[in-house]
C-alpha cells in the first residue's frame, strides 16, 4: 500500500463514521452545528495523529500483554493535553463541546487505529493513517453538523441561509441527530451501490 492510499483510506473507503460506524457518541452528541462538529473532529484528529505516532515509536518496547493499558495511558495523555489547551485558548468551543472532550479517550476510533494500524507500522505511515482517519471523521462531523444546523436553524457555520423562523428545531435537538445521521448513511449506501 503506498502512502497516498493510507491517507485516502480513512477519508473515503474506510470512513470511520459512515462506513465503520465508530465513534458514534461524539458524532451524534456535538453536531448540533457545523462549527462544533469541525472543532470536535479536529480535536480527535490531533489525538489520533499524536497517539498513532507515539505508539508506532514505542511499540517495540511494550510487552504484548500490557499493550492495551499502555495505549490507553498514551491516548489519555494527549486527550488531557487537548482538554487543557482548548480550555485555555478556545474557552467558548470548550464550553459547547463539554463532556465529549474527555470522552475522546473512549472513542473507539482512536484505540482501534492504535491497535489495528500503529502497533504494526512505522511512525510515518501511522501519522498518515491518523491524519486520514481524523480528517475523514472531521469531514463526517462537519457534514452532519451542517445538515443539522441548516435544517434546524437555517444557518451553516453561523451564516444565515434562510430566516431562522422556518427552521425545524427538532434537527438541533436530540432526535434530529439520529434522524439526520440515519438518512445520511442511507444516501451514502445508495451512492455506493450505484
Amino acid at each position: 500500500m503506498n502512502n497516498w492510499k493510507i491517507f485516502a483510506n480513512g477519508l473515503l473507503k474506510e470512513n470511520p463514521t459512515f462506513t465503520l460506524l465508530l465513534g458514534m457518541c461524539p458524532t451524534l452528541g456535538v453536531t448540533s452545528s457545523a462549527g462544533n462538529g469541525l472543532g470536535m473532529g479536529l480535536a480527535t484528529t490531533f489525538v489520533l495523529v499524536m497517539s498513532n505516532m507515539v505508539i508506532a515509536l514505542v511499540k517495540d518496547f511494550i510487552p504484548d500483554k500490557v499493550r492495551i493499558p499502555a495505549f490507553v495511558v498514551i491516548i489519555a495523555t494527549f486527550v488531557s493535553v487537548v482538554e487543557m489547551s482548548m480550555q485555555a485558548y478556545l474557552p467558548s468551543l470548550f464550553a459547547s463541546l463539554g463532556l465529549f472532550i474527555p470522552l475522546i479517550v473512549v472513542n473507539c476510533i482512536v484505540l482501534g487505529r492504535a491497535e489495528a494500524f500503529a502497533s504494526k507500522n512505522n511512525p510515518f505511515r501511522s501519522i498518515l493513517d491518523g491524519l486520514g482517519m481524523g480528517l475523514g471523521f472531521s469531514m463526517a462531523l462537519t457534514l452532519l453538523g451542517s445538515v443539522r444546523e441548516f435544517l434546524g436553524s437555517g444557518k451553516i457555520f453561523s451564516l444565515a441561509i434562510y430566516p431562522e423562523d422556518y427552521g425545524m428545531l427538532v434537527f438541533v435537538l436530540a432526535p434530529g441527530a439520529f434522524l439526520a445521521l440515519g438518512f445520511l448513511i442511507a444516501i451514502i449506501n445508495k451512492l455506493k451501490a450505484a
Binding site: 510487552p63 500490557v66 499502555a70 495511558v73 493535553v81 487543557m84 464550553a95 431562522e164 423562523d165 428545531l169
Partner: protein, 238 residues
C-alpha cells in the same frame, strides 16, 4: 529490534515508565496552560460585567467583594462606578436547583436593585429547552418575538402546551424588592420557559439570591422577596 518479552518485571516496568512520563508531561502542560485558563475566565467575567451594567470607568474586578448569601453560598459583587459615583452592581450568582447541576449567572442591577440585564455564565441545562434561559428573560424585540413564536410553536405541536401569549417573561426593569419574581405557575410575575419550568425556577432563584445578598449588603428593603403578599411598587416595566 526484538520485541520486549512479556515477563512480569518487564510489564510492570513499561507501565511504570509510561505512567511517569505521561504524568510528568501533563504536569508540564498544566503549568503552561494554567495562566491562560485563568485569563480566559477573567476575560469572560469582565465581558459579562460590561454587558450587564451601565458604562463605568473603574475596575470592578479590583473592587470585587465576596458576599455570603442567606443559605451560605458564595456570591461575588462587582461595583461599577462612573466618576466615583455608583452606577450599578454586577453580582455573580448561582443556584443548585437547576435541572442538571449548577447555574451561574451575572446579574446587573441599578443601585436600587432594579435589574438592568443578565448573562448566563455557565449551565448544563437541556439544550433547546432549559438552555433558552440565555435569551428568554430579556425584553422581546419585534424580530426576536417572531423567532420565539417559532420556537414555541414546535413545543406547542410537540407537547400540546399553550405557547405563552400575552404574559411577561422579561425580568429587565423588574426589582426583586418590589416584584414577585417567581414563575407565573407559582403565582409570580414571570412566565417560565415553555417545557422547562425547573430551569426557570432555578434561574429566578439565582437572580433573587443575587438581589437579596446585595440588598443585605446595601440595606435595601427585601419585603416582597421574603414572601410578603402586598406589592408596594406598581409594574415598572412594559
Amino acid at each position: 529490534m526484538a520485541k520486549t518479552e512479556s515477563t512480569l518485571v518487564n510489564m510492570l516496568l513499561t507501565l511504570l515508565v509510561i505512567a511517569v512520563i505521561s504524568g510528568a508531561s501533563l504536569g508540564y502542560v498544566y503549568k503552561l496552560t494554567k495562566a491562560p485558563i485563568e485569563q480566559a475566565k477573567a476575560a469572560k467575567q469582565q465581558a459579562a460585567i460590561k454587558d450587564v451594567v451601565p458604562e463605568f470607568d473603574n475596575d470592578p474586578l479590583a473592587e470585587a467583594k465576596t458576599l455570603q448569601s442567606e443559605d451560605g453560598l458564595e456570591l461575588k459583587m462587582f461595583p461599577a462606578k462612573k466618576a466615583g459615583e455608583l452606577v450599578g452592581v454586577a453580582v455573580e450568582t448561582l443556584t443548585n436547583n437547576g435541572f442538571s447541576g449548577e447555574i451561574r449567572i451575572m446579574v446587573g442591577m441599578q443601585p436600587d436593585g432594579t435589574i438592568i440585564n443578565y448573562r448566563v455564565l455557565d449551565h448544563k441545562e437541556t439544550p433547546g429547552l432549559g438552555s433558552k434561559m440565555e435569551e428568554w428573560f430579556r425584553p422581546q424585540a419585534p424580530k426576536a418575538d417572531a423567532t420565539a413564536d417559532q420556537e414555541t410553536s414546535f413545543a406547542k405541536w410537540l407537547y400540546g402546551i399553550k405557547a405563552s401569549g400575552g404574559g411577561n417573561r422579561s425580568i429587565v426593569g423588574m426589582n426583586p424588592g418590589k416584584n414577585k419574581m417567581i414563575v407565573s405557575k407559582d403565582g409570580g410575575e414571570v412566565d417560565a420557559i415553555t417545557a422547562a419550568t425547573i430551569s426557570s425556577r432555578a434561574f429566578l432563584d439565582a437572580v433573587v439570591r443575587a438581589y437579596k445578598t446585595y440588598a443585605k449588603e446595601a440595606n435595601l428593603s427585601t419585603d416582597a422577596v421574603s414572601g410578603a403578599t402586598t406589592k408596594e411598587g406598581g409594574k415598572n416595566y412594559e
